[in-house]
Symmetry: D2
Subunit: 283 residues, 4 copies
Amino acid sequence: MSYQLSELQHGKAEVRIVKVDRGLPDAPDTHVLHDLNVTTQLKGDFADAYLHGDNAHVHATDTQKNTVYALARQHGVATPEHLLLTLAEHWCAQPHVSGIDLSAELYSWERLPQNGHSFVRSGQETRLAYVEALRDGATTVRAALTELTVLKSTGSEFHGFPRDRYTTLAETDDRILATSVSATWTYADAVAGGLDFDAAYGTARAALLEAFAATHSLALQQTIHAMAAAVLDAVPAITSIHIACPNKHHFPVDLTPLGLDNPGEVFFAADRPYGLISATVSR
Amino acid sequence: MSYQLSELQHGKAEVRIVKVDRGLPDAPDTHVLHDLNVTTQLKGDFADAYLHGDNAHVHATDTQKNTVYALARQHGVATPEHLLLTLAEHWCAQPHVSGIDLSAELYSWERLPQNGHSFVRSGQETRLAYVEALRDGATTVRAALTELTVLKSTGSEFHGFPRDRYTTLAETDDRILATSVSATWTYADAVAGGLDFDAAYGTARAALLEAFAATHSLALQQTIHAMAAAVLDAVPAITSIHIACPNKHHFPVDLTPLGLDNPGEVFFAADRPYGLISATVSR
Amino acid sequence: MSYQLSELQHGKAEVRIVKVDRGLPDAPDTHVLHDLNVTTQLKGDFADAYLHGDNAHVHATDTQKNTVYALARQHGVATPEHLLLTLAEHWCAQPHVSGIDLSAELYSWERLPQNGHSFVRSGQETRLAYVEALRDGATTVRAALTELTVLKSTGSEFHGFPRDRYTTLAETDDRILATSVSATWTYADAVAGGLDFDAAYGTARAALLEAFAATHSLALQQTIHAMAAAVLDAVPAITSIHIACPNKHHFPVDLTPLGLDNPGEVFFAADRPYGLISATVSR
Amino acid sequence: MSYQLSELQHGKAEVRIVKVDRGLPDAPDTHVLHDLNVTTQLKGDFADAYLHGDNAHVHATDTQKNTVYALARQHGVATPEHLLLTLAEHWCAQPHVSGIDLSAELYSWERLPQNGHSFVRSGQETRLAYVEALRDGATTVRAALTELTVLKSTGSEFHGFPRDRYTTLAETDDRILATSVSATWTYADAVAGGLDFDAAYGTARAALLEAFAATHSLALQQTIHAMAAAVLDAVPAITSIHIACPNKHHFPVDLTPLGLDNPGEVFFAADRPYGLISATVSR
């Protein structure tokens, strides 16, 4: 029987590359690290490989891996986004390729004060970059962070929700609010505009943290909207942002049976299940 | 500044439920286990929670968790898909709800021979079920498996691919082919037709394995297409299937510098990077 | 200031090797897989490397990796234990080495029926082997399994425990008992005796499962002892066994507030915290 | 048949507790977080539970969990070590208990500047505390850190190691040195001396980082010794320290076949296998 083929993709996933910018002549020992995990996915006219095992159009995933290393050597890694844009331009010019999806994780390092070439991994969150390009079409640049874990020990309430037969949750006007923020945003005109992607990321991250802290929260939904709006306020190049937040429940332990009170001091940090709230906010 | 809100969702993720069907009167000690991890995501008219912290429309995620347990108690868990369909029907009838996304992981257990109520976890793969429903619209049922890890120690070749400046991979007419299959498929008319979801899953899984084994592979792409076509051949109710397969590279170790040959016997199983190939095949 | 050095070790961890035994002349297509993760740790006179960076005694961890591959090629992999014993003999004969600790994980595969060279990963648990050898001393062989996940849906009680000011747990005469067994055992005279390590492992695993199922449990402690004793009964070459079992709590959900009863049917499978019980049982 | 029982232990693992110190009267909104994962393991006269399912001596693991919360409420959590010492004292006074092993992980949080009760998770490493106590004997306090990931992009060499038949590694006088430090140390007279455990941990961590950065490394062994000696130099209360370091290999990519040079700029960060080096250094 004959079926329809679509969404044909192949590439190399999780190409771990550390690019060291060795020091400039006036500071040869002051290095810069770019620690990345790059994934490539070519799209194109690949049906014969699926149907007949004919690989004439299939750029080997090993070649895609080599190309990550080669272009990083030739063009450097100004930012994760710049490396992906360079890869996108390269691949969209190759035969049989109609487009490409690219992503990169970036791991951050903090320089130790003893010299210019010693580092300690820093931060909990992972920064991500995405580029989607078509040979005859648009290029989209997105960025994200995951696992930015934050907590407020007060300044969070939750009440006024519907009560039905299966509702048992008590209302509260003081609870711990904890979450691990995942946010993904889209840059407008990123290619043409020469955006400083590192600065944009830093500004977005700071806006998320500040809005989380500053918002007296009546619902995690409200905090999500405040964080999203803060990012859009702070970075004009961002056109929309999607935020997903687990509600990492911290339940006050009922110490009454043990003959003790618990005035908001002792909490059980639960793993599962967890609330999961999300929204997209756009200009 | 005022922004647009969209994709508003909230629910409870990873509700771990084990439903025990205790034995029938003629075999009271013969139990059946349903071991599930359920996630619910309501969609609806929730903007006031995001904008003002007004929760009047927000069915608490705790209530959504309770509802999973309550409906499992009342209606049982014939299959993961049936539980999700029951939840979808319940929630689409509640105020302020326009639709729901539901998913469930199923963990499989094998009965031990000593009695009817002792079990050992079995299988490597995870079975998944998805239901998407709209209050005033269609209900879609999908199923999936992940982490079905398979390997062929011969009967796999890879050659004839393009060679450019960055290509170094040698062609081969005998390699190990190993992958961890992720497949997601859609059922047509699942609700109306009274489909046996357990049987459909079992048939699809068997078709994947048989096609993997039986296909002499000139490309992982070819094996993916063969597996997808085998599932469509075997289960008429499936309308389309998406398969994504990492190419879990097993590199023959070069023992020549150690004064030894290696006639396809000693391999290094690499972690990263890995090839990643995917396709959708539809009727 | 001068300090004392001790417990100096170095080696290569997690050498992933897949050894394929290609078919015998009468069945050339029937392959056998040995899928291992080997770790080596040399002990010896290595202080100068720590004190002065003098590596004259330091067999490079890269050399240790190569040696795993080379000896597997030369001697095959009859069992994980045999490969480790071959490595131990090799290394204890090298200069500056006083002993070695070796371990291997084994991943199991099940042959698919379509031909002799296609496999699917099977089982949930991981098999382990350990060899500790001294140049001028004894060689110890141990084996283990981890993540053997089992569950009884009845036939488990827990009562009669002390009650103090902080005790709130109710007694029960019917609960779910679920655990993930980790067991490590020591073989006597394994080297001299020519033990069949695969058969011993299989017998031990079967004894664990049978004792788990057959024991009406008044405490997880009792089940642990029954499992340990069953292994010692079944495999005379085993001199002692250590078992550690998490008590993977399955709490019955209180459905009373929802207007429903719950006659031992609906459970919440908790992640953390979990009970953790262990013991060593020896001849 | 009758066997010997030993190493009988039971307790509650991974009790996740977040203790909030709410603000003092002059700064009621300035909170302090103690985010811990506590594990208890009682030792004692528990054989009857294993042999006969008689739980008269078995303090339920649920009671052990409650006790963590109760003592944290009553005594606070000055440091992880103090909470464990309080638990040890409590349990060693209970009937049937001969001793206890306790451990705690601590997750660190950094205060956000917007107010006194908003925090972001900080740091990559995990801090650990251990207390082992006997009813009629000594109490030992140890501390540890894991996953302190560090990297030097130059200032590391490796040469002069033995070359045998299986040695293929080239010598190098400039390589990346990367590792994830795990260090465990023992405090002398910690109980009597009123040690400031937080300060001791901070000093030890800083000494590890400074020694890593400042040591021109001829072997990871040399760096390990330098880090251990630095900790002993810096914290007089520490009597011995064990350090284990994976050698997280960063291999320079051979770009020659691609027509490019690679002057120490482009590296592949490998996952497995990895070197694993360890030592104990004592006064």
